[in-house]
């Protein structure tokens, strides 16, 4: 790795930000001094004659329960996380139940450590690893429990296999004590400890014995060569229930005596209600009552549809939004944000950029990316019940402890008075990191004390309240000389998605938003003079994390602009990228996609191919998109994807996630934007914001590589290269360079 060490010393200049994180966080709103990451939250709820060895395994005389630490947002957490434990415990599918983790600092996400340290992912120098270790320690102390950042595997690959190994070895030790046979002579299989004479002792029959001995904490997970399930095609545990229509999502839950709520909230996101007239709604069928909320109104009825119809009939007067009412003014704010007073950070500076820009041929281009919605198919919802003791809440959410904080703050309770039950979710893409449903559900349930309330957002309300993906403009300059790229000066002005989320989570940060560096500074090409700078626009719409976050916009800007420079230098887009790539195993990703697509240069005849390479969340992904011009517009024919995740732990789901990421990236790049008029988003259903439907979906060929020294995530990294690879393909086919999303404003698609 000597090469990478050199790269980091030579290429990256870091600001003075504390090494313990590119982002320094404030105190946690829900910090609870009584519990720490080393406490096992399962211990308190343990039934009689039961045992727990760690926060992920619980055994009672009648069942084994494994904890899925993260939220399942379609990425397969509810399957792969328990299977990693079961692999080590020698449990088979069907021999255990799965439960989602409750709020606890024990479930802090170790997978964020790399993203928070101010080093690019490919830099594995001792200094970078030391910074990551410090972020990890901070995460532990803060107890940051959050699903996101493609961390399902990076966070849990080690710790869940260790948790399973500890359980296995402790059960063996208990069996050894009971039988008088040495541990070395025992083995485990299919939920049983097996004695040398073939006698089987079920794990559930060992719960009492195991509780009496200390857990075998030094147990080691097995070598991957011994795996029964992991690394091989396996059936996701949730597939059958989902196909049979039997899986209950949050929106499907029901409680005795439950009533249904629908809301109409200020479309000027977060601003108050001024006045309302509910006279028409009051007598409508099924309506029980109408409630005033801080930011709107709620109708309580006997059926969700009655509630939605009635809340539609309420006339509201709203306080104006805190951001510009009209979209054109949002763009104006961004245009004027490339100024020192809005500087986020100069993330990286190499060489003498100003002098180099005067050398050779100058290339300048402005790129744009609009606000985009998340809009998972299951709308925001939740069930809430407030009693004198506190609140119980059933909602699918990615940040359990922040749910406690937000709900408690909304109704004047303490976070520990909020009992949170995570639910299966119908997608998220970043939506279920936000809190609008949580906050208003708490307000509603608090006014309806003693009655369980199920809140379902109408699709229109969900669109109106959806805190969008960041809006951004890039002003990139570069120069080429003698067939080489000599300079790239990348500047982005954007809203700050992660900072916004943290602030709404009760942990405001004053540091620059590290997500605005994603796709901007982690550029692994030998360009001798390089600068990457972010500016943070102020006073615009609140924004939040959207599948692949910062890299979803900057990946498009950077990889399109690099393509422009490559063309200006008269080079082949694939060969030039391979030649410039300065991380050997990242180069292999590009070489793999070149081989898969049989890249041989221009296709001609109205066809074109584009390539793009982006590392996000530590995962390098390269994509080739092939398009053809038809009488009715551009058709996307095929996509080839190569991704290096260190280890493909769940091959079937891996392919599904990668294909989904490509479709997400392409669909939104082609035809999605959210625009404001009179302070409200104008797109309020899927016909205005539909992304990709099956008729536009290309064939997508996927290959996973295992050269990275760490296990990496794959939920988000296939997204960022999709848009630039498509734009680059359209340029190759038509000569037209599209520099703004959505592309369908500039060219027709079949």
């Amino acid at each position: 790795m000597g090469h990478i060490e050199n790269l980091s010393r030579r290429a990256f200049v870091f600001g003075s930000a504390a090494i313990a994180g590119g982002i320094a966080f404030g105190a946690f709103g829900n910090a609870d001094a009584a519990t720490t990451a080393s406490d096992n939250p399962l211990a308190a709820g343990l039934g009689p004659n039961s045992v727990t060895f760690n926060p992920w395994v619980e055994i009672s005389p009648d069942k084994i329960t494994l904890i899925a630490q993260h939220a399942d947002i379609g990425q397969g957490v509810g399957s792969i996380q328990p299977i990693m434990i079961a692999e080590e415990m020698d449990l088979d599918p069907g021999q255990f139940e799965v439960r989602f983790a409750g709020p606890s600092p024990a479930y802090f996400n170790t997978g964020f450590a790399d993203e928070l340290a101010p080093f690019v992912a490919a830099d594995q120098s001792p200094a970078a690893e030391e910074a990551r270790a410090k972020s990890l320690e901070w995460l532990r102390q803060a107890g940051l429990q959050m699903t996101g950042g493609s961390s399902t595997l990076p966070d849990t690959y080690e710790k869940l296999r260790v948790a399973g190994a500890v359980a296995r070895e402790t059960l063996k030790a208990a069996a050894a004590k009971r039988s008088g046979i040495a541990v070395a002579d025992l083995r485990t299989q299919s939920g049983h400890v097996i004695l040398p004479n073939g006698t089987k002792i079920a794990y559930v029959d060992l719960s009492v014995d195991a509780a009496k001995i200390p857990p075998v904490l030094d147990a080691k997970p097995r070598d991957p060569s011994k795996w029964r399930m992991l690394g091989k095609p396996m059936t996701r545990l949730d597939i059958r229930d989902k196909v049979m229509g039997e899986l209950k999502f949050g929106i499907d839950m029901k409680m005795d005596g439950m009533l249904y709520a629908a809301v109409k909230l200020n479309p000027g996101k977060g601003q108050p209600l001024k006045s309302y007239d509910a006279s028409k709604a009051r007598g409508m069928p099924g309506v029980k009552t109408i409630l005033e909320l801080k930011t709107g109104v709620a109708v309580i009825a006997t059926n969700s549809w009655y509630a939605m119809k009635a809340v539609d009939a309420v006339i509201c007067e709203w306080a104006p939004s805190a951001y510009p009412a009209e979209q054109a003014d949002h763009w104006k704010v961004l245009e004027s944000s490339f100024k020192p007073e809005f500087l986020g950070k100069e993330w990286r500076k190499t060489g003498d950029i100003d002098a180099a820009l005067k050398t050779g041929k100058l290339v300048e281009a402005e790129y744009r990316a609009p606000y985009v919605g998340h809009q998972p198919l299951e709308p925001l919802n939740g069930i809430g019940l407030v009693t004198d003791k506190g609140m119980e809440i059933w909602v699918g959410h990615q940040s359990p402890r922040f749910v406690q904080y937000v709900a408690a703050t909304a109704i004047g309770l303490k976070p520990e008075q909020i009992t949170f039950h995570n639910q299966w979710t119908g997608g998220s893409f970043g939506h279920r990191l936000e809190y609008e449903n949580v906050r208003v559900l708490a307000e509603i349930a608090n006014q309806m004390k003693g009655t369980p309330i199920k809140l379902v957002f109408s699709r229109e309300e969900d669109f109106l309240q959806d805190i969008p993906r960041q809006i951004a403009i890039a002003r990139h300059r570069g120069s080429v000389d003698k067939g080489k790229i000599v300079a790239a000066d990348l500047q982005v002005a954007s809203t700050a998605p992660f900072k916004g989320l943290l602030e709404r989570s009760g942990t405001p940060s004053k540091d620059p938003d590290g997500q605005l560096a994603a796709g901007l500074w982690n550029v692994y090409y030998d360009i001798p003079n390089f600068r990457g700078t972010s500016y943070e626009a102020q006073g615009l719409s609140p924004c939040t994390t959207w599948r692949s976050v910062g890299a979803s916009t900057s990946g498009f800007f950077t990889e399109s602009f690099i393509d422009e420079l490559i063309h200006a230098a008269g080079l082949d887009p694939m060969k030039a990228r391979i030649a410039m790539c300065n991380v050997p195993h990242y180069r292999k990703v590009l070489e793999t996609v070149a081989e898969m697509s049989d890249w041989k240069g221009p296709l001609g005849n109205g066809r074109g191919r584009g390539v793009a390479f982006v590392e996000s969340f530590g995962t390098p992904a390269a994509e080739v998109v092939e398009v053809s011009m038809t009488d009715s517009g551009i058709r996307i024919d095929k996509v080839w994807v190569a991704v290096d995740v260190g280890k493909v732990v769940d091959p079937v789901n891996f392919e599904n996630q990668v294909q989904g990421g490509v479709i997400w990236g392409l669909g939104h790049a082609i035809n999605c934007e959210l625009t404001y008029a009179k302070g409200a988003v104008q797109q309020t259903n899927y016909n205005h914001h539909e992304a990709m439907r099956i008729y536009q979906c290309p064939v997508i060929e996927v290959r996973g590589l295992e050269n990275d020294p760490k296990v990496r995530g794959v939920g988000e990294p296939p997204v960022p290269p999709a848009a630039p690879a498509l734009a680059n393909a359209i340029f190759a086919a038509t000569g037209k360079r599209i520099r703004e999303m959505p592309f369908n404003k500039f060219i027709d698609f079949v």
Partner: protein
């Protein structure tokens, strides 16, 4: 009181006739495989069969469904043996799974109409069913596999 047959059982509901079938199924009868996604026939996740045809249940007023026979995924005959269900399991189509009940009901209807659909025909019939996770390549493969299985059984 409005009477209809759901999954072979006669049910009576006391709601206004304008209420969409979707909300009768979900909130009145507790049948949750038809999902709410858009309410305006843009996503297809609420798809059920009415008298054998795939219908968006968010658009069918209960008053018009009176006396008809509604089948949701829960009530498919011989569900385990259904070639579409089997293909969906074999191909592990779902990610979040929220749209899949509607996709499956639409795909069953597609294969009733066209026994061996081309990709173009799949595109035409399935484009009303939105999947935000991006399972389309698997949906396509599963429909082809189900068609082959169905024809082999004949």
């Amino acid at each position: 009181m409005i009477e209809l047959t759901v999954n072979g059982t006669k049910r009576r509901v006391d709601v206004v006739p304008e209420m969409p079938l979707l909300w009768v199924l979900r909130d009145e009868l507790g049948i949750t495989s038809p999902k709410y996604g858009c309410g305006v026939a843009q996503c297809g996740t609420c798809t059920v069969h009415i008298d054998g045809m795939a219908v968006r249940s968010c658009q069918a007023h209960i008053g018009e469904v009176a006396g008809k026979s509604v089948v949701t995924l829960e009530g498919l005959d011989n569900k385990d043996q259904n070639p579409v269900i089997q293909a969906w399991l074999e191909h592990q189509v779902p990610q979040c799974g929220y749209c899949q009940t509607g996709q499956i009901m639409q795909a069953i209807s597609l294969l009733d109409l066209i026994s061996n659909p081309t990709d173009d025909e799949i595109n035409q019939v399935m484009s009303g069913n939105l999947c935000r996770c991006g399972t389309y390549p698997r949906i396509r493969a599963a429909i082809h596999a189900a068609a082959a299985k169905k024809m082999a059984e004949k």
